[in-house]
Symmetry: C5
Subunit: 234 residues, 5 copies
């Protein structure tokens, strides 16, 4: 472990929540739908340091939107405070929406890439966002962790080298060991989904792929502004 | 990679959505059912470049119809625009229908078949359609991508050779790497399901079959006109 | 392939639908329940060449009845016509019943048994039926199809020999390759479920069993007349 | 097979049904809940030769009670008659309860234990019952049935020897081959769940365990009298 | 087995229940929600020796709170009495909440750690609790139990040594063999989830990990007081 030699980094909690609006919502008159949805979105944004909205309707089965929230974790109590705050906010809207799949994790210095923060690393607090978000839970096989450190480093180098060929695709790795069922939440942002799809295809031919136990369900979202989205609710 | 030497091709997004009408729909008087269903279908057709309707009721569990939409993708923003447009349209009908399984992907020049566009390749924009559609998500094993290129080409040649013996069965391959959980969406059209079933049986004896990780759930649809279908709603 | 040398056989579509009556049904007064259920059954029987009703309530989880329909397939268009007809009929009853698991396939001359139609082969159009039906989707492993033809024939001979020892148990094999997720629908009829259970037990010790990838969910039904069943609805 | 040499035994059908009371039930006034539940229980008891009630609420996910019914099977028609009878009874209560997981099978002389009926064998018709019931569907691997008879007998001897060390734990084995998805339903009764848990732990170290394909979902129930249970409904 | 040489220990039943409040709950006015939820919580606390409440909303999919109850088991009848008592209490609130996933087990002296009760062992009856609870069902592979005792002890020593490096993380192991589908329920308490996540990461590189068959679904909860939680319900 060389982590001790790295400059300390701020820990960030990344949280992804999939929502589906309920039958009761869809039988409200359109104006009330927009009002209720708008109140939910404002509330949720206020309960995190930052929150971004993505359309997933039609991109995945049984879901309407994905809300990506990020919160700084200055101390160990901050994680609990974040969840208490967002629960209280969410509960005011539970009669019209159904919270679905949630995925979350925290940042940690990478074990395999010792470079100072790369230009391809996502900053959740940056002002503008790319047009598309792709995110999935990720778990490696038991065998991976019993390989020698150099073997793993070699395989990760191949993986990292391919990623660097796609400079406009940025990435964030969240650790979920012991927090949820997956080991990681892997997040990508891109302005070009076809290009991103090629990157994923290229990564299929790497040795490290053999050690992937699970990388589904994958979530793809289309960045939407509050107004665009509210306007689409009928 | 020999892709660079091929003439550029238009990218097409293919989208398949399974719908089930809700309890509220089935308790409406028949005339209102036809009216609501007709409005949904017109709207959805208008939100894509083309859309085709298939009956899946009785062919698969828990579903009524399948809507196959296709949209040209002239630039990277077109994918997001397509999904925003179809969500806004769909939302006007959410009180009577439940969007189910969605599958989608984009076209790409084939890595294994360098021929100019084959007569067996489906053109989603062609005026007439065959009577039956068969479609499924498809994922190869991790081992496949680590085989040498020539080995894979050899296995694909055997696969392609068998497909060519069934000249009246046409095919479309969509790429979903990094867009959804599957790697491909495989689409077939045929006027004779028994013949198609024989093709699938023949393909079981090919070496490439060993490298299939998943090819379900398969969806089979019966082409229906709007009038036929609306008339069957009660 | 020796299929070409066999006399042509009529293709038959076999369709199995599991139904569960909804909450709305169970809150109707008993007389209305019988009326609605009777209308559904008459309609469904009229939409196929023949249809047989089985009780599955208490035999499997979450289901009430199984309807086995059979239809002759004189030409390629007949499959679509069958599904359009049954959908229109079913839709008139969707407010009180929920169509569940559907399984279907078509007959084909057997590759392994070249005998003229055996006395143990089920004729779906025969006037009387045995007391119990057992049916399940069936898929073989990828490895099976890559074994040599003689090896497979040898294993099937062992399988067929055991089946012949149970003369009163009849069988029907439907092909579903490329039509649904399974490869086959296997159907048995018997007047003695204990005897049938012994047959299944005996088949466990055959070599071919190693090449079974999936043979569930199995459905067991008790033959009921319309009157018996309607009378049991409350 | 040495079965032919054994004295004939009466065949018994054992049936286990898990129930969950519905939302409509829980919004009835308490007195009506007790009345409806009591009527259901009396009816179900009358539809079998004997029926025992167990609480599973809080012991497993999503269920309230487990009803264990047993019926003598004097002839092949008796199985169908049992299911028709219990369906008619159950249907009178479908507006307030949801039939859940059902498991059933029939007794057969054991292939591995030729002793006359053991003191540890459960008699479903005996007057008193032990305090706890544990029951699960059980399926062996395909490989088990292709082992030689003596190998299997040796492994079963080890298994049986351990069971005999726990004299107060009784057992019943039902055969479900070809009747439901599992091969067996395994039933235990005990007055001491901690002791039973030790027996299961001890059996983990036997060779036969390698040939277990599935032994879940396990159901554990607490014996309750009708009055105890009705009194707990609010 | 050296268990006989250990001083007798009190057996404790540990029970974890996940709850989701229903649609009916979320359409009640806020004051009634707080009243109903408070009555449920008081009742459940009274039905066990001790009960602790954790928020899981937003931490896992489809759930609101987790209730950890503990009860002393002085004799074999106490297990049944606990479940009858909690069912009667729970039933008074079934119109507004849906009992979800339940996990439970009983304590037993450890086979691998012969030390007197360790400072890192959780006492469910202790007055204060740490801020976070992590809990999951755990099952080892069939192969584990057929390894020699010394091999298993060696692997457990490695596992225990790593756990001891995280002194502020406490642990409880409950046995569920034959009681539920899992073999164990593993419970951790911590004031620092990031630290806990590192412990889980470190344990990935131990040999014993190869013998983990299943350790999901994992549940992470945030300790909440009754007042905090009731106040967040709207």
């Amino acid at each position: 472990m060389t982590e001790e030699q790295l400059p300390p980094e701020e820990v960030i909690l990344g949280h992804f929540a999939i929502y589906r609006f309920t039958d009761r919502f869809w039988t409200l008159p359109p104006a009330q739908r927009r009002e209720r949805a708008g109140a939910w979105l404002s509330g949720m944004k206020a309960s995190a340091d930052v929150a971004h909205l993505y359309l997933v309707q039609g991109l995945e089965t049984g879901a309407d939107v994905l809300l990506w929230s990020a919160a700084r974790v200055p101390d160990a109590a901050a994680v609990g405070a974040f969840f208490r705050r967002r629960a209280a906010t969410e509960n005011a809207h539970r009669d019209v929406l159904e919270p679905g799949h949630v995925l979350w994790g925290v940042t940690r210095p990478s074990e395999y890439s010792r470079a100072a923060k790369s230009a391809q690393e996502i900053d959740p607090f940056a002002p503008g966002r790319r047009s598309y978000l792709v995110m999935y839970p990720f778990t490696k096989t038991a065998g991976w962790y019993l390989l020698g450190r150099e073997t793993r480093q070699g395989m990760m180098n191949e993986h990292i080298r391919i990623g660097k060929q796609y400079r406009d695709i940025t990435q964030l790795l969240l650790y979920s060991f012991g927090l949820q069922d997956q080991e990681f939440v892997v997040v990508y942002e891109t302005d070009d989904l076809s290009l991103f799809s090629k990157l994923v295809y290229d990564l299929r031919a790497t040795e490290a792929r053999r050690y992937t136990k699970a990388d589904t369900p994958l979530h793809t979202g289309v960045l939407v502004t509050a107004d665009e989205w509210l306007g689409s609710l009928g």
